[in-house]
Amino acid sequence: MQTQFPGLPAARKPLRTWLRMQQREPEKLWAYLFVAPAVLLVLLFRFYPMLTGIGYSFTNWDGINPPQFIGLANFQELFFKDLLFRTSLINLFKILLTLPLWIFLPLVLALLIHQGVPGWRFFRAAFFFPTVLSAAIIAAIFTMVLRIDGAVNLFLGLVGIEGPDWLGTTQTSLPALIAVALWGQFGVGVVVYLAGLATVEQDLFDAAKVDGANWGQTLWYVTVPSIQPTVEFYTVTTIRNLLAGLFAFVFVLTAGGPGASSTLPEYIIWLNMGSENRLGYASAISTILFVVFLLIVLVQVRLMGLRQGGDK
């Protein structure tokens, strides 16, 4: 009976046979050796923390006493008792509803730059500028700008509008946070889309022109389909960012308030692992976020696979 060695190429073959194969093709062994450090780093600094975090989510670990297994108690509390967490999920859902804005605003701007509008070089640099600033600095700047006596309300006052306390009302705090985060991050999208547009063959645009297509028709029938892989890639990274990349904005701009109107799950993770000494609970929230993101990515990959199958 042949011994199974999971993970090894030609896994049904015994180890000795496998090693003999490497001797005949030594370049494969060298390839494994060269990728080994990177793989080890990923395993050590990504997978290991992730797995231990998932493990802690089933405990009552407070960082002070040893963790004790409590089964699904953390998850039960999160979904059935923790009003703050459920509120944060609603806030997260509201943010995800703005996903089209995050995807298509940079696309429109990139298209305009690609088509060489007047001042396109300036706009390309200007749109990218916010991305070189850290999120905390952007948030600190906008904390001043969005104050009741800040620049935004000053300009609104010039046209006779009394602006609200953008960060201090439950109706405006989350939209203000989204707007600031979008301002800080849309430049990356512009650059990504510009790179994608650079790969589109000029012949396609010439052919569309010859066929009499106008700007809108060219955009819809030629440009967007040509850069669909770029759009899909940017969508996945944007979703990841929205799920777990807005902490600095919440931390600096609103501290999750007023009330819980701008609280997000990652901010609750921060509170629970910090001042409230509930690391097991915080790990449970992290696990939920991970599962949500994994599901979204799997759906995305499935749709991409269907599209590629349809293209064939």
């Binding site: 030594p26 960082g63 002070i64 006493n65 703050l84 904390t143 969005l146 104050r147 009741i148 006596d149 306390d165 953008w166 960060l167 201090g168 009302t169 439950t170 931390f251 609103t254 501290a255 999750g256 308030g257 007023p258 009330g259 819980a260 609280t263 921060w270 509170l271 692992m273 910090g274 001042s275 409230e276 000494n277 690391l279």
Partner: protein, 437 residues
């Protein structure tokens, strides 16, 4: 051929490394062994105050004195932002390593971390008798001191004599009753268009010092004890009464515009200093206190009062109101410190009379040492506060609430002021949250 050469080179390299490691050490020539110098030590200190220019001279002085006595020790002081201090400390706790010495509030935030703090009784010896405000720095399970208090802290209200004068009110007569306060605020609003109180609700804590005074004017001694022991529900009639006063003040438009996104420290105080509001609820010691306000607007413009009477049975005159005071902040040594003895020495220096005298001078702190006589300081504010501290005092209302409930209250309080909830709803919710009723 080249593959063989590479393998040969790799084997040769590994062999030479092994041989080098196995080589016999060169025998050292015999020498006279000198007296061992103490090994260099680095102590890391976290606090949330050294970024404050009023507080910084004290830590600078203490560290300087300590390093003069212990030149082989380097002290790394890392100030952290106050609003996130305990969150940041929590990340260190989860890693089971971090600073050697930490600054903590003498309230549930210390108790929740008491098992991580080094007991100090055996180190402090008789010096322990000189420490005031010790109760808040003890391990509640063992009774041992796990922190050295350095300040006594409490709430008072301040008023702007300049705004009072502008409004035609007597700048030397702050209001004595709640009704007088309401009347004064009406006059101030009408005649000066200035705000009655400035608060900062971004972190949700902007009502604390305002409410501390109202609680002292409303709760009996037993009710204060029940609240401290967390036996009083949030919807107790007296608590409802205090919150109704807050709601009333809110309805009257007492607070400045933009209060929900302003911070307590120091937006609310800076607003008061700029002369845009008539009152601010502040502290007696080292932060948000008369010193900070006086430096900003001139001591002559700052008025201080203990509060207003609400229930004549509690106090018929403001001078008879209980004082809001407790052990304030103090230094603790973390058990994980690899150099606990040296860390304790640093804490002793930080809590020493000479260093605390610097704190009293620079920040107007009421220091928690009986052998530093604040009466020796001639400042009238200090003298008044010291007089008040000789009277019965209760722990400030906010200081006895556990962290989770406090965090939740910080979320609910702004909603109460913004009109998104009511007193009845918020108290019912806090009952459920804290007591799971």
């Amino acid at each position: 051929m080249s593959a063989k050469l590479m393998k040969f080179a790799a084997v040769l390299t590994v062999l030479s490394m092994i041989l080098a490691g196995c080589a016999a050490p060169t025998p050292a020539a015999p020498t006279v062994v000198p007296t061992a110098a103490p090994k260099p030590i680095t102590l890391t200190v976290w606090d949330f105050k050294s970024g404050d220019p009023l507080f910084a001279p004290y830590t600078k002085d203490a560290i300087k004195r300590f390093q003069e006595k212990n030149p082989h020790v380097k002290v790394e002081l890392v100030p952290q932002p106050m609003a996130e201090y305990y969150n940041i400390l929590g990340t260190a706790i989860s890693a089971n390593k971090g600073p050697d010495v930490v600054l903590l509030h003498g309230d549930p935030r210390l108790v929740e971390r008491q098992d991580l703090l080094l007991p100090l009784n055996k180190y402090l010896g008789k010096d322990i008798d000189q420490l005031a405000g010790q109760e808040q720095f003890k391990n509640v399970k063992t009774g041992e001191l796990v922190g050295t208090p350095i300040t006594i802290q409490g709430s008072v209200w301040y008023y702007s004599k300049k705004v009072y004068t502008e409004a035609g009110l007597d700048p030397n007569k702050p209001p004595k009753t709640w009704d007088e306060l309401v009347a004064n605020c009406d006059v101030i609003k009408t005649k000066t268009q200035k705000d009655c109180f400035s608060i900062g609700m971004k972190d949700g804590n902007g009502l604390h010092f305002f409410m501390n005074i109202l609680v002292n004017a409303t709760f009996t001694a037993q009710e204060q004890a029940d609240w401290k022991a967390r036996k009083m529900p949030w919807d107790h009639p007296k608590m409802l009464k205090v919150l109704q006063m807050v709601a009333d003040a809110n309805k009257r438009g007492w607070w400045q515009k933009g209060y929900a996104s302003a911070t307590l420290f120091n937006d609310s105080y800076d607003y008061f200093i700029s002369g845009k509001s008539a009152h601010v609820a502040g502290l007696i010691s080292d932060s948000g206190n008369w010193k900070y306000l006086s430096d900003g607007m001139g001591a002559d413009n700052v008025g201080m009062f203990k509060g207003v009477t609400v229930d004549p049975q509690i106090a018929a005159d403001p001078s008879k109101l209980p004082t809001s005071a407790t052990g304030g902040i103090g230094w603790s040594v973390m058990k994980w410190s690899p150099e606990p003895d040296m860390a304790v020495k640093l804490v002793q220096q930080l809590a020493s009379p000479e260093s605390l005298a610097v704190l009293a001078n620079s920040a107007g702190a009421i220091v928690a040492r009986k052998d530093v006589d604040p009466a020796s300081l001639t400042n009238p504010f200090m003298k008044q506060i010291v007089t008040w501290l000789k009277e019965p005092a209760f722990d400030p209302w906010n200081s006895v609430i556990g962290t989770a409930a406090r965090n939740e209250w910080h979320r609910q309080a702004p909603l109460l002021l913004l009109g998104d909830t009511t007193v009845e709803k918020v108290t019912a919710y806090m009952n459920t949250f804290e007591f799971k009723k």
